[in-house]
């Protein structure tokens, strides 16, 4: 057994030695972010609810196991009770109780799902198209569209044996040349599609991810809480080939006023070829 203890000690030592090697300690990054949208908060609380259920069940099951292992050791002279082979009552109990727990878990999950599916009253539609390996954003009806790809510094650093230090690059691999800009407190509808292969659009702080599939249009929505302006980052989440790891998503959330100014600036010089026709668009609110 000395071997065993020695190897455990060695492993622990290795782990401890390795820890100060990294400059940016992010040991605290253990859990799902709460996020900045209505849905992300709901999803986070759902996640925590299931997590605590699992912990509770785990305390019971692991407690039972450890108790058995400690109390019924042969080395302590435990005698087996060979008559204990089955019990219909016990079987029913440990079938029914899990079912009840599962139903309790499923109800809030179903409620959140229904909220996610409610795409009514969106105020801005953005078509997001995945390319190998960049994103294209199209503000529908606003005549603003652009590509968004990995920023140059990250791109140089990430080359094989570039000799550059990723820790020296701000937001390494999570920065783009042209971020998506959206207003706060606005229900934004994101239409997802792809040009070549399947991609997936994921901003953890928004709580959602969905696949962008060629030939198909998927939709999700998000509404960033008022006051939560800032920059939020995510990545492509479906293997899409060589540079799958290098097509980040950056969303800049600004105030409504700032957004209007930004949009107008983007539109300058561009002739609106697409306009609304037919009876004035009915109010969406």
């Amino acid at each position: 057994m000395t071997y065993v203890y020695r190897s455990i000690a060695l492993l622990l030592a290795l782990t401890v030695v390795a820890s100060p090697l990294t400059a940016h300690a992010e040991w605290g990054d253990l859990n799902m972010p709460v996020g900045v949208t209505e849905l992300s908060k709901e999803i986070h609380s759902l996640h925590m609810t299931i997590f605590w259920w699992c912990v509770a069940i785990g305390v019971f099951v692991f407690g039972w196991m450890i108790w058995s292992l400690v109390a019924f050791r042969k080395s302590q002279g435990a005698e087996p009770d060979v008559t204990m082979t089955h019990s219909t009552k016990a079987e029913i109990i440990w079938t029914v109780i899990p079912v009840v727990i599962l139903v309790i878990m499923a109800i809030p999950a179903a409620r959140t799902l229904i909220a996610i599916e409610d795409t009514r009253d969106t105020e801005l539609s953005i078509k997001v198209t995945g390319y190998q390996w960049k994103w294209h954003y199209d503000y529908l009806g606003k005549d603003v569209k652009f590509f968004s790809k990995l920023d140059r510094t990250s791109d140089e650093t990430r080359q094989l044996n570039s000799g550059l230090d990723p820790h020296a690059v701000p937001d390494y691999l999570l920065n783009v040349d042209n971020p998506l800009v959206v207003p706060e407190d606005t229900k934004v509808r994101v239409l997802l599609t792809a040009q070549d292969v399947i991609h997936a659009w994921w901003v953890p702080q928004f709580g959602m991810k969905k696949d962008a599939i060629p030939g198909t249009v998927n939709e999700i929505w998000f509404k960033v809480d008022a006051g939560k302006t800032g920059v939020y980052r995510g990545q492509c989440a479906e293997l899409c080939g060589r540079d799958h790891g290098f097509m980040p998503i950056v969303v800049k959330v600004v105030s409504k006023q700032e957004f209007a100014t930004w949009l107008a600036a983007q539109q300058t010089g561009a002739t609106p070829t697409v306009a609304s026709r037919e009876p004035a668009p009915s109010p969406r609110g």
């Binding site: 795409t119 009514r120 529908l140 040009q195 998927n218 697409v274 668009p281």
Partner: protein
């Protein structure tokens, strides 16, 4: 027994292929929305049902997708329309062949949200058949559609998207 089990394995292999048509059938009966239905016309009489709620409007957005950059131009003439369910509307898409040759293209339609697919009826569409384009030809292509008044009330915005594929061999394959 060996033969029977081999038969089961063979059956399972066939079942794998049977999943292809089954998938469409399942999409139909579960109301998931079978986007292949969008490739087929609906007769005008079947769609001309007046809406129960004359004030209801559904926003329809039009989207155009090009999988090949630079060899085509393809876009809707308008970006969106407020549509009264049960009424027939027409909208135009414009396409221009920049491939430098005579070619054939096929538009593949898709609706978001998927649930709305079953309620989106078209009496005429350039996607029903492959479109032949001469070199540099530009053409306006109409779509006539009706939104079924039975469209669930929680849907207030529908996106009709076309992906415009230039692929003569594939198109020939589905043309029959």
């Amino acid at each position: 027994m060996l033969l029977r089990l081999l038969g089961v394995a063979g059956g399972a292999f066939a079942f794998g292929f049977a999943l292809v048509p089954l998938y469409d059938v399942l999409c139909d009966i579960t109301g998931i929305g079978n986007s292949k239905d969008l490739l087929r016309p609906t007769s005008i009489t079947a769609v001309n049902t007046p809406s129960a709620d004359p004030d209801r409007r559904v926003m329809v957005e039009f989207v155009a997708e090009l999988p090949t950059v630079g060899s085509w131009e393809f876009s809707p003439v308008v970006y969106e329309m407020a549509v009264q369910p049960g009424k027939l509307y027409e909208v135009d898409y414009v396409a221009r062949n920049l491939t430098g040759r005579d070619t054939v293209a096929q538009a593949i339609p898709n609706i978001a949200p998927g649930k709305a697919t079953a309620f989106f009826r078209k009496t005429e569409c350039f996607c029903f058949t492959p479109q032949h384009f001469a070199q540099n030809e530009e053409r306006v292509m109409p779509v006539r559609f009706v939104v079924d008044p039975a469209l669930p009330s929680h849907i207030d915005r529908v996106t009709l998207s076309y992906t415009f594929y230039d692929n003569s061999t594939r198109v020939a394959a589905i043309e029959d």
